[in-house]
Amino acid sequence: MKVSFPIMGNSYVAFKQLVEQIGHEPVVPPLPSSRTMTLGTTYSPEFACIPFKILMGTYLEAIEKGAEVIISSGGHGPCRAGYYGEIHQRIINDLGYKTKVIIFDSVSMAFKDFFQKLHYILRTGNTSWWQFIKVYKTVWEKLLALDEIELLAHQVRPYEVEKGKTSEVYRRCLEIMDQARTRDQIREAREACFRLLQDIPQDKSRKPLKIGIVGEIYVQIEPFANLDIQATLGEMGVYTKRGIHLSEWWMETTHQSHNEEKAKTAARPYLKQMIGGHGILSVGETILYARRGFDGVVQLAPFSCIPEIVAKSILNQVSRDYGIPVLTIFLDEQTGREGLRTRLEAFVDLLQQRRQKRLGGAVS
């Protein structure tokens, strides 16, 4: 079968290999572009959030490239994203396409359903469970490596001497990773990418501001959705750390790591109830960033995102209590790159002044 999947950050490099090695033909949709956005907004409900719209556009572009099956993740609410697959499928049918959207809900809450769907995909690809486990391990290593490379890129960028160099090298790294297939090759490619990034000429005398990024997972991870905010800030000489990477999310969802607990505990005095999506984490992580001495926090949220609106109303109080500036950015199809840059520049200026004041105070 021709199998496609959503684009979310750099993960498509790993998913492409996964689909291929379980015996299907991967259809990698084009990276999201303004065309994707136009297609998506045309056929989506007006108040669906930007992840819904970008995915809608991506699916339609994948269908144009011949995708017969689209695999995506689901959920059990209360965030709307858990229901997106259902609506996407209906819209796709309404447009007259036969493509099937297969949604994987959480393993723990829909155990049988999860394995039935997985079994179907493996069977149609003539892959045994044994082979699948081997493939899974390899792809997992690739996904981890991709995230490590991205993390390193964000560390290097604020020090780069030549603006834009890191992003250029990072793109080359993705190509290198795409070529690596076996576990040995992936390890080798990872080391090579690390070296490439570290060899970028850097000015270590800089003292970059530190900004933490919190918010909804999709707009945090997909640079097209957040207008490449981390690169933009990085090139302004700011070090950014975002709340979540896809490999971390997978570790949390499958209960292999428990970092989210820390954030939830931190959020408790302000918000006790799980409100779906990443709302409670936005509150908790802001507090953790404040404790770790970050200069500021940027909250990223899709326009009309319910959990993040709740988080925003609480973050005002957190910001006052912990003395950490928070900039909330709601993203939708109208958000412009330059408008965002202006807001970020103003925010960075403010943080810069705060830091100088603080340092000045310490000296006197």
């Binding site: 108040f47 609410g77 709307r80 259902e86 309404d94 779906g276």
Partner: protein, 338 residues
């Protein structure tokens, strides 16, 4: 006694107020509600709430702000679930509502924000009532039980009246006071429209600018979610392979299926709030279903703080005109052949 408990007259007020009112008064408290939504509650809400919130949430903030100085205790329950159905809960904004209010409005009195989570355990409503009573310092279980039973009776009464087509204000008065109901006159109507949406939009005549009166004047009989017989409403769940996550949304969607398949209406008006998260899903779902099940005309009426009377009027006038023209054309086609 004289302890005053405040209950904002919006959101779940329209469905659950009779129970809580009877329960609290049964325990000897005075229940104070805010005034029906008006310009003041709207202005206060816009001022206090986070600006990205939807209209109903802003109004809730407004009602709380109006009440806060008039009462000793505010009752702002945290609505998590009211029944066991898959993962059904409420909109995330409802889940975080007490926290939003607390972090947005200054100078609040004591708040009772007990979790209403009826999907778990045995006799959940009784346990919840007991917890609330304990928070108020009532420890005599027998008294609490009596108030609870009275509350349940009032609530059942209320829901029955709603199902019979009585509008909430009248139904609530009967349920709470026990006085016999004056059945409203049934207006002469030649169109049946399903008016679907959340109770706090459909039944708040300030927010929807007197939608029901306007419809009645235009010769429309309005059918709401609450007018679907409860067991028929629940039976509609079979049309969806995956239930929605939000209680009120599930009710609205199921009502849509009922009015599309069992009791045919001439058209559907979906009343929604600008930027409502769950409704982005609900609206598309209803629209596609209405289209696929016999092309039933469908209108989305989106409300926000700037909604004007003329705008609403124009849209429903155009919609009903269109329905009548459509019917005439249909009749003339039939008569040609018959």
């Amino acid at each position: 006694m004289g302890v005053k408990i405040g209950f904002p007259r919006t959101l779940f007020y329209f469905i659950y107020f009779p129970f809580w009112y009877t329960f609290f008064t049964g325990l000897g408290y005075e229940v104070v509600t805010s005034r029906p939504t008006n310009k003041l509650s709207l202005d206060l809400g816009v001022q206090e709430a986070v600006n990205d919130a939807c209209l109903p949430i802003k109004l809730y903030h407004g009602h709380v702000a109006e009440l806060k100085d008039k009462v000793d205790i505010l009752f702002l329950p945290r609505m998590v679930s009211v029944r066991k159905l898959d993962a059904e809960t409420f909109c995330p904004k409802f889940l975080g509502l007490p926290d939003m209010v607390r972090n947005s409005i200054a100078g609040l009195p004591e708040i009772i924000d007990e979790k209403v989570d009826l999907a778990r355990g045995f006799f959940p409503l009784w346990k919840l009532s007991l917890k609330v009573a304990r928070r108020l310092g009532q420890h005599r279980e027998w008294d609490v039980w009596r108030a609870f039973v009275k509350g349940k009776a009032a609530q059942d009464n209320y829901i029955r009246h709603l199902a019979a087509g009585v509008l909430p204000q009248a139904a609530m008065e009967t349920a709470v006071t026990g006085e016999p109901l004056r059945m409203p006159e049934i207006p002469r109507a030649d169109l049946d429209l399903a008016i679907l949406g959340y109770p706090y939009l459909v039944y708040d005549s300030f927010v929807n600018i007197g939608l029901f009166e306007k419809l009645a004047q235009m010769g429309v009989r309005a059918w709401t979610v609450e007018m679907v017989p409860p067991h028929r409403l629940e039976a509609q769940g079979r049309h969806l392979s995956k239930q929605l996550f939000w209680h009120f949304s599930n009710r609205a969607v199921r009502a849509a299926f009922y009015y599309l398949t069992e009791k045919r209406v001439d058209g559907i008006i979906h009343v929604t709030a600008f930027g409502c998260g769950p409704d982005a899903m609900v609206d598309k779902l209803m629209e596609l279903e209405a289209k696929n099940r016999g092309n039933v005309p469908y209108l989305t009426l989106s409300l926000d703080e700037h909604t004007g009377e003329a705008g609403v009027l124009t849209r429903i006038e155009a919609f009903t005109d269109m329905l009548r023209i459509r019917r005439r054309e249909h009749e003339s086609v039939v008569s040609h052949h018959g």
